[in-house]
C-alpha cells in the first residue's frame, strides 16, 4: 500500500479546486485527474527503477493495456446508456479460440480477425436484443449470457488448447512487434479509441447515447429511438470484445476454455475508475481508456518496484472505491456551486 498512498491526494485536490471553480468542465477535470495519478505513479516508479521506462518497458506497458483499453471502450458506451455488459470476458474467450482454430487450420490472419469481430458482434447483438426488447435489467441478462457463452466455449473447446506454435509466425510477430516503442496492437486500440471518441462527440446518435443514459424518459419523449441505440451500443461492445479476442490471441498465443474468465470485472472497474458514471449519462471513452491504462500499469509498477504482485487486486479495488468517492465529492461540490450560481442569478 505504501506505493499508492501518495497518489490519492492529487486526485482529490485537482478534482476539488477545479470542480468548484469550473463546474462546467467537470468531465475534463475527471480525466485529467486520472492522467495525473497515472503520471505520478509512473514517475515514482521510474525514480525507484530507472529501467522502468526503457523502450521495452514502455512497449510492455502499452501492450498490456491494449486489450483492456479496447474492451473498456466498448463497455463505456454501454455504461453511458445506463446498462452494463458482463459477458465481455466470455466473448473475448470464445472469439480468441475461434480465431485460433481458424489459424490452426492454416487460415488467413485477416479472416481470423474478421471472424472474431463477427462472432463478437453476434453476441453483442444477442445481449442488445435481450436488454432492449426484453426490458430485463442488463446486469441479470448479461450475467446469463456470460454463463451461456462460457458454457458453449467449454463444450466447444473441451480440453483443447491453442499455443503460439499452432499459429503462423507472422501473426505472432504482429502481436508482439511494433514501431520502436509503439506496438501494432496499441496502434489499433488507439485508432478505435479516437474514432469512437470522435463519434460520441460529433454524431447525433453518439450524443443520444448520453441523452438516454442521462434521462431515459426524457429521451423517449424527445423521440430518440431508445431501443435501437441500446442495441447499437451492445453490438459495438460485442464487436470490440471480439476484436480484443483476436488481439489477445496475437499477443499471448495461448488460448484455452478458461481464457477471459473474470475479465468482465476488470473491464467494469477500468470504466468506472476512468470516470464513466455507473448510473449513465456521463463520462467518456478517453476516461475509460485512461482507467484501463491505470489498472494495467499497477500490474507493471509493482514488480518494477520489487513489490509482490499479490497486492495488485487490493490496489485495483482501492482505486475503484477511491474513484467512486471522488466522483461523489465532485458531484456534491458541483451541485453546491451551481446552486450558488442560481442564487446569484435569481
Amino acid at each position: 500500500m505504501t506505493v499508492v498512498s501518495p497518489d490519492p491526494t492529487p486526485v482529490a485536490e485537482a478534482a476539488e479546486s477545479s470542480g468548484t471553480r469550473l463546474a462546467d468542465r467537470v468531465f475534463k477535470v475527471r480525466e485529467l485527474a486520472i492522467l495525473l495519478v497515472l503520471l505520478v505513479m509512473i514517475a515514482v516508479t521510474q525514480a525507484g527503477n530507472s529501467e522502468f521506462l526503457s523502450e521495452q518497458g514502455i512497449k510492455d506497458l502499452l501492450l498490456n493495456a491494449t486489450i483492456l483499453v479496447l474492451v473498456a471502450t466498448g463497455q463505456a458506451l454501454v455504461v453511458i446508456t445506463r446498462n452494463v455488459d458482463l459477458s465481455v470476458g466470455s466473448t473475448l474467450g470464445i472469439t480468441a479460440f475461434a480465431a485460433g482454430i481458424h489459424l490452426q487450420g492454416g487460415g488467413n490472419p485477416v479472416v481470423a480477425i474478421a471472424l472474431a469481430v463477427l462472432l463478437g458482434t453476434g453476441f453483442g447483438l444477442l445481449n442488445g436484443l435481450l436488454v432492449s426488447l426484453g426490458q430485463v435489467p442488463a446486469l441479470v441478462v448479461t450475467l446469463g449470457t456470460l454463463y451461456i457463452i462460457r458454457g458453449i466455449d467449454s463444450i466447444w473447446v473441451g480440453s483443447r488448447q491453442i499455443t503460439a506454435a499452432d499459429l503462423p509466425a507472422g501473426f505472432v510477430d504482429f502481436g508482439s512487434g511494433g514501431i520502436s516503442a509503439l506496438p501494432y496492437l496499441a496502434l489499433i486500440a488507439i485508432a478505435v479509441l479516437v474514432a469512437t471518441a470522435y463519434y460520441m462527440k460529433h454524431f447525433g446518435s453518439g450524443r443520444e447515447l448520453y441523452a438516454l443514459g442521462s434521462n431515459p424518459e426524457a429521451a423517449r419523449l424527445a423521440g430518440i429511438p431508445v431501443r435501437k441505440r441500446i442495441l447499437a451500443a451492445y453490438t459495438f461492445c460485442g464487436a470490440l470484445a471480439g476484436l480484443a479476442g483476436a488481439l489477445y490471441l496475437a499477443r499471448f498465443g495461448n488460448v484455452d476454455s478458461g481464457t477471459g474468465t473474470g475479465y468482465e470485472l476488470t473491464v467494469v472497474s477500468a470504466v468506472v475508475v476512468g470516470g464513466v458514471v455507473f448510473t449513465g449519462g456521463s463520462g467518456s471513452v478517453y476516461g475509460a481508456a485512461l482507467g484501463a491504462l491505470l489498472l494495467t500499469s499497477v500490474n507493471s509498477v509493482l514488480p518494477a518496484l520489487g513489490v509482490s504482485s499479490v497486492w495488485v487486486l487490493a490496489i485495483n479495488g482501492t482505486l475503484l472505491i477511491l474513484a467512486i468517492a471522488v466522483d461523489r465529492i465532485v458531484a456534491l461540490r458541483v451541485a453546491a456551486a451551481l446552486k450558488k450560481r442560481n442564487a446569484r442569478h435569481g
Partner: protein, 505 residues
C-alpha cells in the same frame, strides 16, 4: 397556416375525434373531441385525474388512442412516437421538465435535431449560437454550455420553451407551465405565447390558476372523469361557471371541514434550517387544528416534513412534540413521541407494493404485535382489519397485495398504517394527489374527524382549493422560507398564490 383547399379560416390544425383511451380498468378518456385552430390559445380545464395528461400525451404521440382519431390539417394521422408528433410541428412542455441533467442547455434544446456539418457531424458552434439567440429572444441570460443539472425549475421551464421555439412549432401544448414561475416570469412567458399566437400557432394551455386561463385563452375545453363536458368561448364566462363545469358538484361536500377549537400546542418547530434546502422555518400546530402548508413545487415543503420527522438531519433548529424535544435524524423517536408522516409518493415511500394490505398496515405496529421476537400474525391481522374497515378500504381480501388496489384505496392503506400508531401529530404530504373525487372527499372527512378528536394535522398540498377548504390556518413557503401565515378567513387563491410566488401579499 391555412390550406388553399380550405373554405374558411376555421380549419383546425390539430384535432381529436371521439378519442378513447384506457389503462387497464381505468378509462382515462371517453369519446373526447377537441379542435385546435391556428392563432388561438385554447385552455384545457379539469380536476386532477380528469384525463388532461392522457389527452396531451395522445396529441404528443406518447399514447395511441384505443378508439377515435387524431387529425392533422383535417387528415387522420397515426403518431408512432413522440418523434412523429414533433416532426409534425407539435411541441409539448410537460409539467415535469424532461431535461438531460448531464448535457448542456444547448444540447438539451437541439437533441436529435442538431445543426449538421458535412458527413452528418454535429455543428456544435451553430448549436451554441442558435441557443444563445433563443435565450436572447426569451430575454434570459442562460449560458448555452451550462449543464442542465442544478437549474432552477423556472430555468428548466425556460429551456423547455426554448426547445419548442427552436423548431417553430405550429402547435404548442403547455401543461401547467406557470406552476413554478414568479409573476415576472409568467408575464414574460405570456408575452412569448401571444407572439406565437400572432404568428399563427395554436396553443393548448393548461393551468390550475383560473385567472391565467381568463387572461390568455380564447376558448376552453373542460374535462371531467375522462369525458368532455364542454368546448366554448371564455367570453362571458365567470370563474364560478368554469369551476362548476370542472367539478360538477357542490364544493362544500368535497371539503367537509368541522369547526374545532384548537387546544394545546402539539407540534412546535423552531428555526428549522437545512442548508440550501430551507431556512429558519418556525411554526406551531395545535391539537384539533389542521394547518395547511402551501407553496409551489420545490419550495421545500416536503423537505421540511422530512426534517421534522427526522428522515433528513436538520442543520439547525428544534422540533418539539408536546414540549418534548425530538432527537435530530431519528424517525423512531419521532414515532415514539406520537408523530406520523404520510409521505407524498405512496408507491415509493408509503407502501411495500407487493406485500399484502394486512402486512402493510402492520408495518408500523411491529413493536406491539411482536411476541418473543416473532410477529403475532393473528394480532397483526385483527389490527389491520380493524383499520381497513374503519377507513372503508375497498378490497377483496385483506391478504391481497396493495398493488391490486386503486390509487385512492392505496392512499387509505397508507393512512391506516399511520393512524394505527395512534398519532398525536399527523403530517400528510399531498394526501389526495391522483385519487378520484369520491375518495378525496372521504380522505378530507377523515382528516376533519381526526382533528375533531384532538389530533394536530399538518397538511402539505399543492391543491389550492384543498388548502382553502380544509385548513384552519395556511402557512405558505417560497424558496425555502415561510413567507406568509394566513388565517382561514383571509385565505384566498390570490393571497396564497401571491405568497407562494414571492410576490408581495
Amino acid at each position: 397556416m391555412t390550406h388553399p383547399s380550405d373554405t374558411g379560416p376555421a380549419a383546425p390544425v390539430l384535432a381529436l375525434r371521439d378519442v378513447s383511451k384506457s389503462f387497464g380498468a381505468v378509462r382515462a378518456l371517453r369519446d373526447v373531441s377537441l379542435d385546435l385552430f391556428p392563432g388561438e390559445v385554447h385552455a384545457l380545464a379539469g380536476e386532477n385525474g380528469a384525463g388532461k395528461s392522457t389527452l396531451i400525451k395522445t396529441l404528443a404521440g406518447v399514447h395511441r388512442p384505443d378508439a377515435g382519431q387524431v387529425l392533422l390539417d383535417g387528415a387522420p394521422v397515426l403518431f408512432h412516437g413522440p418523434g412523429d408528433a414533433r416532426d409534425a410541428g407539435i411541441a409539448v412542455i410537460y409539467q415535469e421538465p424532461t431535461l438531460f441533467p448531464d448535457l448542456s442547455i444547448a444540447e438539451n434544446i437541439y437533441m436529435g435535431r442538431q445543426p449538421r456539418r458535412p458527413l452528418g457531424r454535429i455543428d456544435h458552434k451553430a448549436t451554441r449560437t442558435a441557443t444563445a439567440a433563443l435565450m436572447c429572444r426569451l430575454g434570459v441570460g442562460l449560458d448555452p454550455d451550462r449543464p442542465a443539472r442544478g437549474l432552477s425549475i423556472a430555468d428548466q421551464q425556460i429551456v423547455e420553451i426554448a426547445k419548442a421555439l427552436s423548431f417553430d412549432a405550429r402547435v404548442l401544448i403547455m401543461d401547467e407551465p406557470t406552476a413554478a414561475l414568479t409573476g415576472s416570469e409568467v408575464a414574460r412567458l405570456f408575452g412569448v405565447v401571444r407572439t406565437l399566437r400572432e404568428q399563427g400557432a395554436a396553443v393548448l394551455f393548461i393551468s390550475h390558476r383560473l385567472e391565467e386561463i381568463f387572461e390568455i385563452c380564447g376558448r376552453v375545453t373542460t374535462l371531467r372523469d375522462g369525458a368532455r363536458i364542454a368546448s366554448e368561448p371564455l367570453d362571458g364566462m365567470t370563474e364560478d361557471d368554469l369551476v362548476r363545469r370542472m367539478v360538477g358538484r357542490d364544493l362544500e361536500e368535497l371539503y367537509p371541514k368541522q369547526e374545532v377549537r384548537p387546544g394545546e400546542i402539539a407540534l412546535s418547530v423552531r428555526r428549522l434550517t437545512r442548508e440550501g434546502v430551507f431556512t429558519d422555518v418556525s411554526f406551531d400546530v395545535r391539537r384539533g387544528e389542521i394547518v395547511g402548508l402551501a407553496g409551489l413545487v420545490g419550495a421545500g415543503r416536503t423537505e421540511v416534513a422530512r426534517a421534522v420527522f427526522g428522515i433528513d438531519r436538520r442543520d439547525a433548529g428544534e422540533v418539539e412534540i408536546d414540549g418534548r424535544a425530538l432527537t435530530n435524524g431519528a424517525p423512531s423517536t419521532a414515532m415514539a413521541a406520537g408523530l406520523a408522516l404520510v409521505p407524498e409518493d405512496r408507491r415509493a415511500q408509503g407502501l411495500v407494493m407487493n406485500m399484502s394490505i394486512e402486512r402493510n398496515i402492520g408495518l408500523t405496529g411491529l413493536r406491539t404485535t411482536v411476541r418473543a421476537g416473532l410477529v403475532d400474525r393473528g394480532a397483526e391481522r385483527s389490527r389491520s382489519l380493524d383499520w381497513a374497515v374503519r377507513l372503508h378500504v375497498k378490497y377483496a381480501r385483506i391478504a391481497d397485495t396493495v398493488s391490486t388496489l386503486s390509487g385512492g384505496n392505496q392512499q387509505k392503506v397508507v393512512l391506516a398504517k399511520w393512524l394505527a400508531t395512534g398519532p398525536k401529530v399527523l403530517i400528510v404530504d399531498e394526501p389526495t394527489r391522483g385519487i378520484d373525487v369520491g375518495t378525496k372527499a372521504e380522505v378530507h372527512r377523515l382528516l376533519s374527524r381526526l382533528a375533531a378528536d384532538g389530533v394536530a394535522v399538518l397538511m402539505i398540498s399543492s391543491d389550492l382549493p384543498e388548502i382553502l377548504g380544509m385548513a384552519d390556518r395556511v402557512l405558505v413557503m417560497h424558496e425555502g422560507r415561510i413567507t406568509a401565515e394566513i388565517p382561514r378567513t383571509e385565505a384566498t387563491e390570490e393571497t396564497v398564490m401571491a405568497a407562494a410566488t414571492g410576490r408581495a401579499a
